[in-house]
């Protein structure tokens, strides 16, 4: 006889086992363990959908549970079922939540605020830096950054959260022990060290076309607010937005250049009523975080002592990237003086270098 937890483990490996079906089955038969005990033939006899019953008992429940448990053991993974009090409370409230989640790493503190940061995989420099700096600041304020560890915006959101020394959750569209995209292996390890990786799919599941839209509902379900950084008009990101709206989450969007294809989706969201992101405070306000007043932003530019040429150069660098040649033109300094000043400013971590000899203020 399976324990209830292992029964849920078995059920979460069953294809097409949605929350609704699970609820209907457990209401009628009492528990997951009872389902396992009855077996395929009896369930069908009691009127359970023949296909569903078949896929439930394709392999024996005990065997499936044992196999998943051993896989979980290999990659130090936990299974948090709906019946577990450690199940994320926000996610539990959603209609279509997973029966259980596989977790690697440390579970977050649920009293913190959760922000989902999503966007296109092919983000622009603008989107990438925005995702990075926003999540860095928010993470430093104790906000948990939830994203999908995909290329582009997702990666930048995670990286920002890690740089802000905060907590970050990656929700995968494959088993939590599978790294997809493979190039993010380094990032995944860093996330595991400081946060957690979550999936509703059993360990070893390969990513497929269908798993990603489904994981998007977990990203929005885990979070208080969903922030969209960049999205084309037809983008997977908008699936997350739809889930968020169904789940009653607030949606925010970062406005962008009207000519940029990747800002069309976000600009339209704003037009349709999504909250606009113009600064970190816009997000913290919606999350309901109290701002500490003494930490005024505009003091930083004057606080640090800079040599005169460094100051000249620093004054040309804002949040919009500028090239070295432009700085030379604006300041009237020689190229060598500018290069020197830039290196010093970079070392003082006041400016950041971007691809293409461009600089922005850090």
């Amino acid at each position: 006889m399976l324990s209830e937890d292992n029964a849920l483990l078995w059920l979460s490996t069953v294809k097409h086992m949605t929350k609704r079906r699970f609820d209907a089955l457990t209401e009628r038969f009492g528990s997951g363990a009872e389902l396992a005990r009855l077996g395929e033939a009896k369930l069908v006899k009691y009127g359970v959908n023949r296909e569903l019953a078949h896929s439930m008992f394709e392999h024996s429940p005990e065997m499936m549970a044992a196999k998943v448990l051993s896989d979980m053991y290999k990659s130090e993974m936990d299974f948090i079922s709906l019946s577990n009090p450690k199940y994320p409370p926000l996610l539990r409230q959603t209609v279509d939540c997973p029966i259980g989640i596989f977790v690697r790493g440390v579970l977050p503190d649920y009293s913190a605020k959760f922000l989902a940061m999503v966007g296109s995989r092919r983000c622009t420099q603008y989107g990438a830096t925005a995702a990075y700096s926003l999540s860095k600041e928010l993470a430093a304020k104790g906000v948990v950054i939830v994203s999908g560890m995909a290329d582009g915006t997702d990666s930048m959101a995670h990286k920002g959260a890690l740089a802000g020394d905060g907590f970050t959750v990656a929700v995968l569209g494959c088993g939590a022990d599978v790294c997809y995209p493979a190039g993010n292996r380094g990032l995944m390890e860093k996330i595991l060290a400081k946060g957690c990786v979550i999936s509703e799919l059993p360990p070893g599941t390969r990513p497929s076309k269908y798993t990603f839209p489904a994981r998007n509902r977990i990203i929005s379900g885990l979070s208080n607010v969903v922030a969209v950084i960049e999205a084309d008009e037809r983008s997977g990101t908008l699936i997350t937005v739809n889930h968020a709206l169904e789940q009653g989450r607030d949606v925010m969007a970062l406005p962008g250049n009207i000519n940029s294809r990747l800002s069309r989706g976000t600009n339209r969201l704003i037009k349709e009523g999504a909250a606009i992101i113009t600064c970190v405070e816009d997000i913290t306000e919606l999350l309901g975080i109290e701002e500490k007043k003494e930490n005024k932003k505009n003091s930083e530019k004057t606080d640090i002592s800079l040599a005169s040429e460094e100051k000249l150069v620093y004054d040309c660098i804002h949040s919009e990237p500028v090239t070295v040649d432009e700085i030379v033109l604006k300041t009237g300094l020689s190229l060598r003086e500018v290069q020197y000043a830039l290196t010093m400013l970079e070392l003082k971590q006041l400016v950041s270098k971007l691809t293409g000899q461009k600089y922005i203020s850090a």
Binding site: G183, R261, D325, T355, K358
Partner: protein
């Protein structure tokens, strides 16, 4: 009767003397060539026979034996046509043996008796000169090339008949002479100049530093940022060729058969920019009888590889040895040849497969695609490239800018001065430039003060530098200091060097 004519053949890029011995004797008419001739040499029988006939002489119906000594090396090419014909004419008594004593003869014959040009004349004449031969007959088209060799009386001839007339004294030999100094003066103006390039000041500065320390350089930038345009102008800021360097280059071009339409000497630093579909053999040299490849053709000049990741992996890996040693060794059945390949390596690449990553929203490349693209250039090759500079896109305003960019001549002055400083400093070492410093030598010559050490330490901690960048940073700082007059390395030099190592930095975005 026996005739002996001096000729020469090629081994790599140097020549060696070949004695063409011709003997006619009584017997069934026959024409034999021995001494390891290849097909082109064996076929010269027919050309020689017809050319003699068409020069209004009777071809002897005797048993003719030709020997190419030394008999143990393979002879190839048509350059023996003329010496063989002359040998037969000597045997026939038309020309006296004394008339061709101590004379080098080279040339291909055409059926009507005209003398055509051959490859590798300069190194062959050079080797003859070393062996004490003071007169040579070469095809008229090769005459200027041969005349570069000092102390050699060069006579250019256009037909077998003309040659015979000269030998029997009916016509005066016209000696070809070239004035090397004048050649250098004429060759200086290539029409390219750095003042043509507007904007891109930081890349130009990087190129100046690279030229000053003979550092290899890679430019990364979107299409249309002027990478190729600037690369083409690098030879204009390198010091002028010395005569010896020039002769070395000319020899290579002569062997490769690339000298025909050119002047007697190559007086400008070569700029080679092979297409990315190039094969291994074309790049480093090879062939049944090894011929120099692009790395050698760029000797003492610039080898520019546009779109570096598009080159096949094999070709790029083959570049490692020549970049390290300044020469390339090719082994084939017919021998192992070493060609010089002392080059400044210049490469360019786009930041991503579409070319616009980081420069325009047009870019739709995923980070996986970009990593794959950047990964095509292997670590060991990148390790040999000291300067990694990004070229930003040029906009309309830059093009219209009223500031007149610096001319190549001004930049060159600084580069030449820096080269002098390095030559002085390294006179006891076996190197010439900062880029050639070994790890131990770097420690010796790139001494840092306290402030400089702290700056480097901070750079490694905060700017995501990888460890292997350390020595490169020091070498670059050394070169920048040399451009400043050769004093100690200071913080400013290091700060500027840091800006020249873009690929080392794992940039956030």
């Amino acid at each position: 009767m026996l005739a002996k004519i001096h000729s020469a053949a090629l081994m790599g890029i140097s020549g060696y003397m070949v004695d063409v011995e011709v003997d006619t004797s009584q017997g069934l008419p026959a024409f034999e060539i021995v001494g390891l001739p290849d097909n082109a040499v064996r076929e010269s029988k027919e050309r020689v026979r017809t050319a003699i006939k068409n020069s209004q002489f009777e071809f002897p119906s005797k048993r003719i034996t030709v020997n190419l000594a030394p008999a143990n090396t393979k002879k190839e090419g048509p350059a023996f046509d003329l010496p063989i014909a002359v040998g037969i004419l000597v045997c026939m008594g038309i020309i006296k043996q004394q008339a061709v004593e101590n004379t080098l003869i080279l040339g291909e014959l055409s059926l009507d008796g005209a003398v055509k040009c051959v490859d590798g004349v300069l190194p062959m004449v050079y080797s003859a000169c070393e062996r004490g031969i003071r007169r040579c007959f070469v095809p008229i088209e090769n005459a200027r090339e041969a005349a570069v060799v000092g102390g050699m009386e060069v006579v250019g001839i256009s037909s077998l008949y003309e040659f015979i007339e000269i030998c029997i004294g009916k016509r005066k030999a016209e000696v070809t002479e070239v004035d090397i100094d004048k050649l250098f003066e004429e060759g200086l103006n290539s029409g390219l100049d750095f003042s043509d390039v507007r904007g891109q000041e930081s890349v130009k500065r990087a190129l100046e530093i690279a030229a000053a320390g003979m550092h290899n350089i890679i430019m990364i930038g979107p299409p249309g940022s002027g990478k190729t345009m600037m690369a083409k102008r690098i030879p204009t800021i390198l010091p002028d060729l010395t005569v010896n360097e020039s002769i070395e280059i000319t020899k290579i071009y002569s062997v490769a058969g690339l000298l025909r339409d050119r002047n007697a000497l190559i007086t400008q630093r070569p700029f080679r920019s092979p297409h990315h579909t190039i094969s291994n053999v074309a790049m480093v040299g090879g062939g049944r009888v090894p011929k120099p490849g692009e790395v050698s053709l760029a000797h003492n000049g610039v080898l520019f590889l546009d779109e570096l990741p598009e080159f096949s992996r094999g070709v790029l890996e083959e570049l490692r040895q020549p970049l390290e040693d300044g020469e390339v060794t090719v082994s084939r059945v017919n021998g192992t040849m070493t060609f010089p390949a002392n080059i400044m390596f210049v490469a360019s690449m786009n930041p991503c497969p579409c070319g616009y990553y980081g420069y325009s929203d047009k870019c739709r490349c995923t980070s996986t695609q970009i990593n794959k693209y950047m990964g095509k250039v292997s670590g060991p090759l990148l390790d040999r490239i000291d300067v990694q500079i990004e070229a930003a896109a040029v906009d309309y305003e830059d093009m219209q800018s009223s500031i007149k960019p610096e001319s190549s001549a001004d930049i060159k002055k600084r580069v030449v001065a820096a080269h002098e400083i390095q030559k002085q400093r390294y006179r006891d070492e076996n190197i010439y430039f900062n880029s050639q410093l070994s790890a131990a030598q770097t420690e010796k010559y790139c001494h840092l003060g306290k402030a400089e050490n702290e700056l480097i330490k901070a750079a490694f901690e905060r700017l995501n530098f990888s460890a292997r960048a350390y020595h490169k940073l020091l070498k670059l700082a050394r070169t920048i200091a040399d451009l400043d007059g050769g004093g100690d390395i200071n913080v400013r030099h290091i700060a500027e060097a840091i800006q020249l190592r873009n690929l080392d930095r794992r940039l956030l975005y």
